[in-house]
Structures are given as C-alpha cells and as structure tokens.
C-alpha cells in the first residue's frame, strides 16, 4: 500500500473540472515554475508552515524543536500558528475521507480532482486512488504532464478527465523558467489528445514569459497540430508570492510581476482555437 503527503483537500472547488469538485492536493513537484503560487506543493518532504501574523515571539516553538522549527514545535505554539504542511494518507484512508462527500459531488455533476504539486509524480498512489474511485464518481487529474510515457499511460487509462497545463513549447525557455525539460510534457500531451479522453488545456499567462506573441503563437501551433480547438488562459495571479514566507522561503520571480499579462485571443482565433480567458486582470 502506497502513501502520499496531502497538503490540502479542498472540498468545494469550483474551478477544477465539471460540477462541484473536491480537489486533493498531493505534495511534491518536479518542476519549479517561477510563478508557482503554491510553494507548499513543491517539496516531497514534509515541512512546517507558519502563519505570518500573530506571532508573539515567545520562542516556545524553537525551544521545543531544539533550536529550530520541527514537528515538535507545532503543538507548543500558544497562538496555533504552526502546522505540518502535509498529512500522510493511504489511498484507503483518503477514500474514507472522500466517500461521504460523493453523493453531493455526484448530484452536482462533479467528482474528485487530483492536483498538486504534481500528482503524476506519485503514480502508484494516484493510480490506486483512481482505481478505488472507479465507478463511484467522476475522476479528474490536474497536471503539468511531466512524467514518463509509461506512467502517463497508466494514469490516462484511469482518469475520466484531465486539466493539462501547457506553459512554454520552447525547450530552452521551459528549462529556464520551470527548471525542467518539456519533451515529456509535449509527448504526453500528444498521447492525451489522441486518446479520446476529454481534457481542458490551460496556459498560464505570465508577463513577459508565456504571454509573448512568440510563445502563444507556438502554443497555438502546437495545439492545432494535435487537433485541439479550445484553450483556457489563466492570467498571472499577483498574489502568487503570498505563501512563500510561511514555508520560510523567498519569492523572487525573474519577470515583472506588476505588468499586466497579455491574452492575445485574436491569435488563437486566427488559428481556429477558441480561447477563454479565466478570471484575473489582463489585457487582450
């Protein structure tokens, strides 16, 4: 039986697939996108999360942790500002937690979405969960697509729906801004688009990075090549950096955070792709 760290279960998630969805966030991601707004989802190891307001500087946490913050610090904070980011779950235990919600989710045409982090980075756990939910609810996976071809196929056969993040078709740019090679991502995308499994493609609009004419045109070309006729554009969230301090890290993106992202929907339209801009400030 596998086990994974879950850093959040969002019961009422309205933007992660059809209907009302409960989204399970798996901790750990092989990518380090500069605009990542979920630093808790990056590391595979558990870590302490500290709320940034209300600290009385009493020092109890550091004392309990023997000079630094660790698991023992959590219980002693008088203001309850500390928690462990991830909670270990087996697929069975996760199902127990989700099972009670399924009638509401199913009634509302929804289901369960696995997100992260990168859920495909823990394929055994993910596949076991998807198997347990088979026939019980609608299953979706939200992914960057970064994993081996074999693992991707395993998950593809088990999920009813995908939300697939496409960032930068150019390999060098992808490596620079996410720290990873995009070849597996593009390859898995081809597999997905040819599989018949329904999916949504999302492109994050990062000012000066992904929202350039060059990149969006390349993305449009790539989508067309794969017969994809619709895309959702997600403008950069200017509060992306808000959670970094709570996991003891700094947010220093290599792009201008305050520039409004461009959506360039005409470019998609000309390519015969229906582009929908999701919430968030942007210019077309």
């Amino acid at each position: 039986m596998s086990e994974a760290l879950i850093f959040s279960i969002e019961e009422f998630s309205v933007h992660d697939g059809p209907g009302i969805r409960t989204t399970v966030f798996l901790k750990g991601c092989p990518l380090r996108c500069e605009w990542c707004h979920n630093p808790e989802g990056q590391r595979f190891e558990n870590e302490i999360v500290k709320s940034q307001t209300g600290c009385a500087n009493c020092g109890a946490c550091v004392t309990a942790g023997g000079g630094r913050l660790d698991e023992k610090s959590v219980d002693v904070c008088p203001n309850r500002l500390l928690r462990m980011s991830g909670e270990p779950y087996t697929p069975e235990r996760l199902l127990q937690r989700l099972y009670r919600l399924l009638p509401i989710l199913n009634e509302a045409g929804g289901g369960v979405t696995f997100s992260g982090g990168e859920p495909l980075a823990q394929p055994d756990f993910l596949c076991e969960c998807l198997d347990l939910l088979k026939g019980k609810t609608h299953r979706a996976v939200q992914t960057s697509g970064y994993c081996s071809a074999e693992e991707f196929r395993r998950v593809l056969g088990r999920s009813d729906f995908f939300l697939y993040d496409l960032k930068l078709p150019d390999p060098a740019a992808h490596r620079r801004y996410t720290g990873a090679d995009n070849a597996p991502i593009l390859r898995n995308f081809r597999t997905l688009s040819g599989s018949g499994t329904p999916f949504i493609t999302r492109i994050p609009l990062i000012p000066g990075v992904t929202d350039t004419e060059e990149n969006l045109a390349a993305a449009a070309r790539f989508l067309r090549e794969n017969g994809v006729r619709s895309v959702e554009l997600l403008p950069y969230n200017r509060f992306a950096g808000a959670k970094y301090a709570s996991v003891g890290r700094r947010y220093h993106p290599g792009f201008d955070e305050n520039a409004l992202p461009r959506a360039r929907t005409a470019l998609f339209k000309n390519a015969g792709i229906d582009a929908k801009v999701l919430w968030g400030e942007h210019i077309d």
Partner: protein, 673 residues
C-alpha cells in the same frame, strides 16, 4: 434602472434628509392620566401623528416620511414611563388591509364592536381612535400632496388608504402608509411578509390593463428604495437590524409552487439596487428548479448576505407538528430575521429567551465531571442540565406580553375579531420562541472531553477543570490539544451525534410546553446577538474557547475549529430532525468571493444550496466575503461606506457596526483562502 430611480437612489445615499428632522419628545402625561393602558397607547399614536408634518423628498412617489425623530411619551402616577418600543417581530395582515381599505377596516371594527356588546369596549375605543388618527393624517397628507407632491401620488391618495387600491402603484402607496403609521406607533421589526403573493393580483391586473412591465418594475424598485429611508429611526441592535424581511415563493398544501413573475421581479430589483432593505428570503424545497438557486446565488454574490433560504419540506411539517393549522403553516414567513411565523395571525414572541448550550455544558462539567465514571454518565448530567434550563425558560416566562398596541392589533386578524389587543393575546398564534445558542461550541466541548479525558486519558479531570478555571493560563499545550479534537462542521458523526443529543433534549423539553398566552413554547437554533452577549460571562470551555470569546453565529460551526470544508459542514448540519426546531436559525457559511467570479462558479454554489435543501436542512444563509476587503474597511472606513455584510438575521453596513460584530465576521472568515 430608470433615470428617475437613479436620482431617488442618489438622494437616499446622500442622506441629507436626516438633518431636516425635528427633535424632541412630546409629554402627554396630563392627558394620559385616567386612561387605560390601551387608550394611553392610542393617545401616544394620535399625538405623534398630530405633530408629524407632511413632507416629500425629491423624486419620491410614495411620501409618508418621518419629520420627527422622537415619539410622544407619558409618565404614569407611579412615575413610570411608557415602554419606548412597542410590539414587533411580526408581519401585519397586509392582504386584509389591501382588500378592505382603511375605511373598510374601520367599518369592520364598528361591526365587531356592535356584536361585542361592550365586553371589549376599551379595545374597540382605542382601536378606533388610532384608525381615526391614521386616517386624519392620511387626509392631511393628501391635502399637502395636492400642492406639493407629484401628480400621481396625489391622485393615488384620493383613493388610498381610505379605499382599497386599484393598481400596483396605489397598493405600494397604501403599504407605505401602513408601514409609516406602524413605525409612528413604535412597532419594530415588521416584516413585509409574502409580498409576491398579496401584491400579485395588483401586478397582474395592471399587466392586463396594458401597463408596461418597465413601469411596474420602476414602481417596485422605487418602493424598495423607499424602505431604506428613515431606517436609522427604527429600533434595532445596530443600523440595519430593522426586520424588514420579505419572503418569496413557497409551496401550498397541494404542492404547487407559488413563485411567480412578481417574485422574479423582486429578485431582479433587489439584485440591481444592492440595498440592505428589504432583505430577501426564499422559500424552497426538493422540487425547486435549479435556475432559482442560480438566481439566488447571483444575489449572494453581491455580498449583501441574502437571500436566506427556508426549506418548506421541513418548516411546514414542523409548524404543523407544533399545532399550527396546515393552511397557516403553508403560509409561513419569517418574523424579522429567521423566526418562522404566520403573517397577520401570529403575534408571537419569537425571541423570549435562549438556551445557551455551552453554559450548560460548562456548569455540568464543574458539577459532575469528577464523579462521572464514563462519558455516558457525564452526558446524562448534561442532558438533565439542558432539560433544567428549558424548564427554567418555561417557568420564568410567565405573564410576558407585548405592550398594548391597538393600532397594530387592527392589522392582526384575530385581535380585531376578538376585541383583544396583541398584548392580551388576541392573535390566533401566541407562541413563545427561544433561541439555541452556541450548539457547536457545546458539542465540540463534549467531544473534546470524551476524547481527551475518557478515551485517550491524556489529562486528568482535575487538570482540565483547573485549565478551564484559569482560562488556559499556563495550559497552552492542553488548549492546543483540545482545539485539535474533532469539531462540529467536519461531518464527524460522533461529534455531530453529541449536538443531536443536545438538540433533541432541548426540543423535547421545550416544544409544546404551554405558555400562559394560550400558546406553546418552541425551540430554535438562532443566536442573534447572543453569540456575543451570552458568551461574555461564560468562562473557558473544553473546545478551547477562552472565557468570554464569542460563539458561532446561529446554527453554525464555532469560531475556533478549523472546518474541513463547506460540503462536510452542510452534512454536519443536516443530520438532525429540524422539524423539531422551527423557531428557526440558519446555518451561515462564508465563501470567498472568488468562488463567484464566473458563471460556472455561480452554478456550483447553487448546487451547494440544492444539496443542503435535499439533505433536509431547514435554513441556510451564504455569504460572499473577502477578508482582505474587510480588514481594509476596518483600517479605512471612509473608503468602504457602502460595504454590506450579513450580521445575524439581517444585513448592515460593515463600517457602521460595533467592533465586536465586525470581529465576529472577521473570525468567521479566518479559514477561508
């Protein structure tokens, strides 16, 4: 919104009209001497109206504005002043008034007086004095309007309020007159009732006559704007707490959906106006179509904290169970906030007292924890405690009645017929309702004691009691442990089961117990401001709540537990037989405003409401909130004058609220994104 409507709205929002009023009370003690209480109250009303000066605001087509801020008063021979505020928390019989006209009501009073043969002479004399005073003011106002008000208002006043209205506009003017006079009569928290039912005949008749819908809609919107003038003069805990609730839709006994084109127009008007009055309530049920929940959710998105949903599948059977006639039960509305009542027939005191669950739990812990060998033993003591407090409510609330209010009684069916004032329990229903405060804190407390003391034995009984006594000073670690125990709102059957024990005990001990008004007591799940007041003097509780800290609002999770999410919360609060708790009191939930940002999100929130209703919840109230905006409003109130929030059974301007209510709302949003 038409240009005319916009102008009226701007005038309202400027608020300058408030400066024009005359201040000062009028002492009528000399004249009051020798009069009965009923006649004294009629005197106060008459003098108040005699001293009112007719006025009209720019763009105003309804008139009847207050020119005085203060009422008349008297001091009796023992030096006691009359009660400043009179009967309220009910819905007058608007349909009957609209059908008869004030002349018709007066004629009816005379007939009944004849038939009565003098047995209730004082009541009829007082009632007639008030009706004559009201009519005399109406005539005076009409004469003023002839020269000073817009032509349509003057023309309407040539018919109403003496005769029954002939058009939707005249009916609105009539309502405005009734509301104004009742306010001058010191009646508070008057609901508008089932507006979409009793106004529908006028709306439809106008449509048949060829009146364009836009014209009717303009009248409707401006009438609603009208309900926001002078609200600063209404009695309430805070600005906004004025009871002007309006109920839409509902199923009749044959299961027919009574939601209609006027209900829809009311929804659209409220959506467009974004004002705190009237506060919209929606009667729904298992059969309610999805698009209505979507429309309701669009309204929730505005952040005004309404609509509030009531579930006919639960409330109607619940009221019948308490002894209401089925046809009356099917006609229910909310009194002011959430308390279910029958328009025109109920003069119930819906908030006569409250069961404060955490107080009982704490008291029984200190009395019996050490001797209780098992948790079940302890729970028995807690049940006895709840039953005891319910008995205290029944025993203590003897001889309670509203102040005499003959003018209001004219507008309550049973009073006019029986010759008995509302203060003499002349209405058909005179039940007493009690709130149920802090249910989640109480259930959480018991759950924590069960886990920490009895199951895991992580701390001794003595230690726990000491920690509570010392308000957790020096027991920080234990408090954290208690805070980490299961909480109500997380769909934990064992914790919710404890709430069930408390609620069932409460309902069994209170429901149906006779009061001395000829009615019965009824249990509810509301808290009103008691989440603050009743918490102030209750010490620390084992859920981790510190002494004096506020409870959750109404039938909602506590402020201390981190809820696992809205779906679990809905499940937690729909596990009970809510037909036994029809004094009302909603589950309130906060959703981050980003959830509402697109159509997709709106549909999904509507799905959440549907789930709550299907699972058998009785009442639900959702809030679209953004914590950052609220915090900014505290820091820069001048930039957020228009920010509206739900407080308990009503909505108000955030920056006008006392600090503790602002804090409560902020605490409720702590665990949102």
């Amino acid at each position: 919104m038409t240009e005319h409507t916009k102008k009226l709205l701007e005038y309202l929002q400027k608020g300058d009209y408030r400066k024009e009023r005359v201040r000062g009370e009028i002492d009528v003690s000399a004249e009051a001497r020798g009069r009965s209480e009923l006649r004294r109250d009629a005197l106060l009303f008459r003098v108040m109206l005699e001293n009112e000066t007719p006025g009209i605001f720019p763009y105003d087509l309804f008139g009847f504005r207050r020119s005085r801020t203060d009422f008349a008063f008297y001091t009796d021979d023992s030096g006691k002043r009359n009660a400043q505020w009179s009967a309220g928390n009910l819905t007058p019989d608007y349909p009957r008034a609209l059908a008869l006209g004030m002349d018709g009501l007066r004629a009816d009073l005379l007939t009944k007086k004849e038939a009565d043969g003098g047995a209730h002479g004082e009541f009829y004399a007082a009632a007639l004095e008030t009706v004559d005073a009201a009519l005399s003011y109406a005539d005076r106002y009409r004469d003023f309007a002839e020269a000073n008000a817009p032509e349509p208002l003057f023309r309407a006043l040539c018919r109403v309020p003496r005769q029954k209205p002939e058009s939707f506009y005249e009916a609105c003017v009539f309502l405005q007159f009734i509301i104004f006079t009742l306010r001058c009569n010191r009646n508070t928290h008057l609901g508008l009732g089932r507006f979409d039912q009793y106004m529908l005949p006028f709306w439809r008749a106008d449509v048949r006559k060829g009146v364009p819908e836009e014209t009717l809609f303009e009248t409707l919107e401006e009438f609603f704007i009208s309900q926001n003038f002078d609200t600063d003069l209404y009695q309430g805990m805070q600005l906004g707490d004025n009871g002007q609730s309006l109920m839409l839709g509902g199923y009749d006994l044959d299961g027919n959906d009574r939601y209609n084109e006027l209900s829809d127009a009311v929804m659209r008007a409220s959506l467009e106006l974004r004002l705190i009055d009237p506060k919209i309530n929606l009667r729904v049920g298992k059969k309610t179509p999805a698009d209505r929940f979507i429309l309701g959710t669009r309204m929730t998105r505005q952040g005004l904290g309404f609509p509030q949903y009531s579930n006919d599948d639960v409330v109607i059977p619940g009221l019948i169970r308490l002894g209401y006639a089925p046809e009356d039960a099917a006609d229910y509305t909310v009194a002011a906030c959430w308390e279910f009542t029958i328009p025109g027939k109920g003069a119930e005191i819906v908030n006569i007292d409250q069961m404060v669950f955490p107080k009982v739990v704490r008291r029984e812990l200190f009395a019996h924890l050490e001797e209780s060998e098992t948790f079940e033993d302890l729970l028995e003591y807690v049940k006895l405690g709840v039953a005891y407090d319910a008995g205290e409510i029944v025993g203590k609330r003897k001889g309670v009645h509203y102040p005499a209010s003959p003018y209001l009684s004219v507008l309550i069916e049973g009073c006019a017929g029986s010759g008995k004032d509302v203060s003499e329990y002349g209405a058909k229903y005179n039940n007493f309702g009690a709130h149920g405060v802090g249910i989640a804190n109480a259930a959480d407390s018991l759950a924590a004691v069960r886990e920490v003391i009895y199951e895991k034995r992580e701390c001794t009984k003595r230690e726990l009691l000491q920690a509570l006594e010392k308000n957790f000073e020096g027991y920080g670690k234990l408090r954290n442990r208690l805070l980490s125990c299961p909480k109500m709102g997380s769909d934990d059957d064992r914790t919710d089961g404890l709430a069930q024990v408390l609620l069932e005990t409460y309902a069994a001990a209170l429901n149906g117990k006779p009061n001395d008004a000829g009615g019965v007591f009824r249990a509810g799940t509301g808290s009103a401001h008691e989440y603050y007041y009743s918490a102030r003097n209750v010490g620390a509780t084992p859920d981790g709540r510190k002494a004096g800290e506020m409870y959750g609002s109404g039938f909602s999770p506590s402020l201390t537990g981190r809820p696992t999410g809205p779906l679990s919360c809905i499940r937690s609060f729909t596990k009970f037989d809510m037909t036994r708790l029809v004094n009302g009191g909603p589950l309130s939930m906060e959703l981050h405003d980003s959830v509402f940002r697109d159509e997709d999100g709106i549909e999904k929130v509507a799905g959440l409401v549907t789930a709550f209703i299907r699972l058998g919840g009785h009442q639900l109230q959702l809030n679209s909130v953004n914590r950052d905006v609220l915090l900014d409003a505290q820091a820069h109130p001048e930039a957020h004058r228009d920010l509206i929030v739900r407080v308990w059974g009503w909505s108000g301007y955030f920056v006008e609220l006392d600090r503790q209510y602002q804090e409560h709302i902020l605490r409720r949003t702590e665990f949102l994104i």
